[in-house]
Symmetry: C2
Subunit: 387 residues, 2 copies
């Protein structure tokens, strides 16, 4: 039985970027308070959260302070130090969700892929890379190109290097500069993702989203994905299998390839709300951020039913160099029926930095996915951060 | 042309209750910051707003501080002193929306009714009350019962006294204890309301809501209202006529009677987001709170299109005396598809105090309004503030 009081329960979040901000936005109507830890004063989440602790992501004193003020700890960045979080959780009695062990598994892409493969999750062929020979052997076995990946620290495609031929192996390895793995390049029909939630004794999956990347950065999510029903069901099955491997409650962003032969293969997992799930704020009955709030508190999960076809487009900094954040002209976004604007409150725009997003929802029956996509692209193209 | 920066524009709100809180919740995704002024430390809006100025609603120094920090001033309670706001606005150059003159008109129900009648808005027959004879004459003219109303200070039905017979006139007048007016009692089919928005050079109306009151406190709003198409159109016409009389941008809650003969008559106006518009958060593309944010800033208004049939039910304190706010068991609300919980973060529960609300949305075609209403009533009945 869940009782709600004032003040409500407090979630301590390591990281205070846009994910923390949207988490706080979703928590507020539920009476749930959010405190974030972030090294940047006045970080994006600070506007909405109850409070910000200004400290580095691995600052022990800061995390201890956070744990003492919170009923549960969670994180919106994977840079959190799992050992520190584990120890502080034990000291303070404040649980961490997802579990730091899950963070550890996901942190190293090689460990992640091995554990998932062992659990029967379909993954592209991969191997550990100790030297350039391993890359050349992978090209022999999988065919060129292959994808060289830094085992740790990469996001938004950073640390991922396509290797076109054996002659490029040495240079590629040098550019990754650290422990690496190599994967077969998947010939995919489309990239899709399932936002999945692990609750106290239940799981939920959001409708399948189709993701459009450019320069390995997410540009658009289209829902429902234009996959067949069989492929869609297969994606949900894989997502549920992935959740079995994950330890601890919360939202997981599960990125998948739909191969040209219709197979579903795992690409990456994020143990947190994910950019490809931002569309759920308007598109479903319960957003990924409300689900994460409910899940980490051990509350019942909400319905993930689709409310209407939805397209999300990121607003990326289209600037050549860093400059104060200002986007104009937003009148077309504000004036378009079904369009919702989300601004992340970042102080500075940088090239390709995620500054906000726009969601366009339509009426089933009257608006086709193509119409919504066209509207979203027009709205994205109509604004600029260039001064 | 609207340009959005970090930090975004700031709205200064006199009052920091649930309306201010939901305004801040709606403003955050737009990058708009909210500062509230409220005498209660840690008022409901404080959790979400950038900051709270702790001061009385008519505290000049506090309002001046608010004006200096804000790009525009607005209010979520009608207790604000219009003369003070007018003067400070002139001193600081910070505009106030809606205009203090509108506040002044609405503040005195007699003045309000006279201005609206002059503008051709249909109102129930009414007259000024100086002594009990005026009430008795009204009974002669309109028939019993009549509704005696305090001209100022009433809300949630406080200050409204039905007078059944001439013999009750003296007692009724004494209980109102101040300047009063009397109105013909409208024999209504249902009470309805239009949430209407006055923008820079545009107006918008939300779909008609049907309101269920008990003890003159709103219990439920049902959308779409079960009125005929002709009556619904007439309600929008009246709402647009009311907006003509109002000076200044913002959301207005326009409460109407649908008389048994199908006529629409004005009941009350609130120059702010209104309890009978809370359903818009889930039920329409743009909520009343986002519209108020846009309107007071002079931004383009959003679409008010209905997303799905919706029922809102208030969670009122069902306690016998004041006690710390705690409501249980909320699991049924959290677990019901289409139900959304809103908690206002008040510290204390009091008899019939508005502590939160639940919105239930359905699918057009599959869920009838009756189904949604039944679900909403079950959810409301399943929780209690009694310890």
């Amino acid at each position: 039985m869940t009782t709600l009081r004032t003040p409500g329960p407090t979630i301590g979040v390591v990281g205070g970027g846009q994910l923390g901000r949207m988490l706080a936005e979703a928590a507020a109507p539920l009476g749930v308070e959010v405190v974030v830890l972030d090294p940047t004063p006045d970080c994006p989440a600070a506007l909405v959260a109850r409070d910000q602790i200004v400290a580095d992501f691995d600052d022990e004193a800061g995390i201890r302070d956070l744990a003492e003020r919170a009923d549960v700890l969670t994180f919106e960045i994977e840079l959190a130090d799992q050992n520190v979080m584990d120890r502080i959780s034990e000291e303070t009695g404040t649980p961490v969700h997802p579990k730091p062990s899950t963070l550890e598994t996901i942190h190293d892409k090689l460990v992640q892929k091995r554990e998932l493969e062992d659990a029967g999750v379909p993954v592209p062929p991969f191997r550990k890379v100790d030297d350039a020979d391993d890359i050349r052997e992978a090209i022999d076995d999988y065919g060129a190109p292959v994808m060289l990946k830094a085992r740790t620290g990469g996001y938004d495609g950073r640390g991922n290097v396509p290797v076109e031929s054996k002659a490029d192996a040495e240079d590629a390895l040098e550019s990754v500069a650290g422990p690496a793995m190599v994967e077969s390049f998947v010939d995919f029909e489309r990239e899709v993702s399932v936002i999945a939630v692990k609750g106290d004794d239940e799981v939920a999956t959001f409708p399948l989203g189709e993701n459009v990347h450019e320069d390995e950065i997410l540009r658009e999510t289209i829902v429902p994905a234009r996959s067949s029903e069989a492929v869609t069901e297969r994606a949900y099955d894989v997502a549920r299998d992935v959740l079995e491997v994950m330890d601890g409650r919360g939202v997981y962003g599960i990125e998948l390839f739909e191969a040209t032969d219709g197979e579903i293969l795992l690409n990456e997992i994020a143990p947190r709300p994910h950019n490809s799930g931002h569309w759920t704020i308007e598109g479903t009955q319960t957003s990924q951020f409300e689900q994460h709030t409910r899940a980490v508190l051990g509350w019942p999960l909400g319905s993930t039913a689709l409310r209407s076809p939805t397209v999300m487009t990121n607003l990326l900094g289209d600037v050549d160099e860093e400059q104060p954040a200002a986007v104009g002209d937003i009148d077309e976004i504000l004036g378009t029926p079904g369009a919702a604007l989300h601004w992340y409150g970042k102080q500075q725009a940088r090239p390709l930095r995620k500054m906000g997003h726009v969601t366009v929802t339509g009426d089933e029956g009257t608006d086709s996915i193509d119409d919504l996509l066209e509207t979203a692209r027009e709205l994205e193209a109509a604004v600029t951060f260039q001064s």
